[in-house]
């Protein structure tokens, strides 16, 4: 079984995010890493291929500048190869443009299953999985917390507000995976070494047969008109607990008449 996993390379979330004053979008000129949200999809895909007893995991990613740091991490986990769409024209691409690019790249891989995260940790729009499925004209299931494959269909436990639903879906399909559902493996030393020689097929927007005007700033249907500081919440009283801090909490709750 062949599985494609969409992976995003993002600025390290441990560093404070900044907006580019010119473009008013997230600055992404530093080192990029594999979005942790995507590591669950990679792990899930590796397990599914393993269970199926054959096939491979292909990564699909896009970046304006040939960045591969995050992709190498996923290759080191065990993915076989990657398709990276890299083109300066991609700068400023919105979620629909992203889905167009990923869909065009995924078509080349002819997968049985496409896995994504539910949302990225930097842009967190959360709409790309369904946009992607729509453009590929595939069925889809979002928010999967468990996936099993068999008889040409995928069985998913889909998280809901109240609990979860069992969902069945014919394949090929697009499935988005929630965080925390599997334990992503750490790349072994052998895996890290092997990742260096795994193929990364780098393509431009034109290679995919897409019009550069349909992606990036040119293809955007939105314009950022203002960026401003939100009304700040004032910090109140901060005290060090020396054994009596709980009384302070009781007093505070009393004042608010919630006791």
């Amino acid at each position: 079984m062949n599985v494609v996993v969409c992976v995003k390379q993002i600025p390290d979330p441990a560093e404070p995010g900044q907006l580019d004053p010119e473009t008013k979008t997230l600055k992404r000129d530093g080192k990029l890493i594999l979005d942790e949200s995507d590591s669950y999809g990679v792990e899930m895909a590796l397990q599914l291929v393993d269970t199926a007893g054959g096939g491979e995991v292909t990564l699909v990613s896009m970046a304006p500048n040939s960045e591969v740091g995050g992709i190498r991490t996923a290759l080191a986990m065990g993915a076989a190869k990657a398709i990276l769409v890299s083109d300066p024209a991609l700068a400023g691409t919105d979620s629909l443009g992203t889905a167009k690019v990923l869909a065009a790249a995924i078509k080349r891989a002819e997968p049985d299953l496409v896995l994504t995260a539910t949302e990225s940790s930097d842009g967190y729009t959360g709409t790309v999985p369904e946009q992607l499925a729509g453009l590929l004209d595939l069925p889809s299931v979002t928010f999967a917390k468990q996936i099993a494959v068999g008889d040409g269909k995928v069985s998913v436990q889909r998280q809901t507000e109240q609990g979860f639903d069992d969902v069945e879906c014919p394949m090929p399909a697009v499935v988005s995976v929630t965080a925390g559902v599997v334990e992503p493996r750490y790349p072994s030393f052998k895996g890290i070494m092997a990742a260096k020689s795994k193929p990364v097929d780098e393509l431009t927007v034109a290679d995919l047969g897409l019009d550069a005007g349909s992606v990036g700033w040119a293809g955007g249907q939105q314009e950022i008109v203002d960026v401003s500081a939100a009304e700040a919440r004032q910090a109140g009283e901060i005290i060090e607990d020396e054994g009596e801090a709980h009384l302070k909490i009781v007093e505070f709750l009393d004042q608010l008449k919630v006791l």
Binding site: S95, T127, E130, P139, T142, G163, A173, A235, G243, A245
Partner: protein
Amino acid sequence: MALSTVWVLAEEREGKVLPITLEMLAKAREIADNVEAVLGGDATAVAAELGAHGVTKVHATGDLAGALPGVPVAAAMAAAIEGGASPDLIMFGTTYDGRDIAGRLSAKLDRTVITNNVDITVDGDSIVVVEPVFGGSTNVSTKFSAAGPHLALFRPKSFEPAESGGGPAEVASLSVPDLGNSGGATITERHVEEREGPSLDDAAVVVSGGRGLGESDKYEMIEQLAKLLKAAPGASRAIVDAGWVPYSYQVGQTGKVVKPTVYLAAGISGATQHMVGMKGSKNIIAINKDAEAPIFSIADLGIVGDVHKVLPKLIEALQARG
């Protein structure tokens, strides 16, 4: 100048319209002359409630026969629009189904969708939505620059619901076209995870625990405290991901947005993901060992201390009061 017609994606559970839908309807009435709803399901039980919140007409697909709503509802909306319906704007709630339907419709109509919004303003032809970023410290305002219909998702609790006193909404049938290859995801069984106590949506007090609790069994302290305060127990994403508590407990960007009178955060450092979900609380109490934890920057009462010492004493003090 107001918009002519706005569609709001309506969602219901067991014949009751979800709060997020009512919140969006209140805002929609402010910015549009005519507010209509779209419902993936049967509208009989909710036409009156939707009408009372200002909906003139509800476009309903009828029973979806177990299909996940993303594909059929988006296909039905797209077909209606191609058939001549022309909403200026379609508002979706940030819910599981809201995101699915908006994403599918975006691909069908080749229209961008702007997500995570907390506000919207209309000035002439210009529709601007506001999205908080960096844990809510910065607001980004974005204008739709292409032709409509414009698609936007809104976070729960961004607007106050308000009745308009209208009569029941007219119910119009919204037919689902042939879905071809993309249909076929079907719900075979639903599982409801029971939660104890009041819900995160309604509780006046929310008590949440995070990684600082150390071990999963320490979450019992949160539940005990919640019971004493008649509060809803909540959690940070870290301990939900770690499997200590079910997802339905999660407060934050990808979980529940809460606005209680009091929010007590125990052992939560205040990752932006979490802060987005609770900073609208009227009063915030935080207990954390690390004096530098970001949560203290928004807490009305911050206790720099060990949750394992403070919580048991707090529980004892509250028990003593009966």
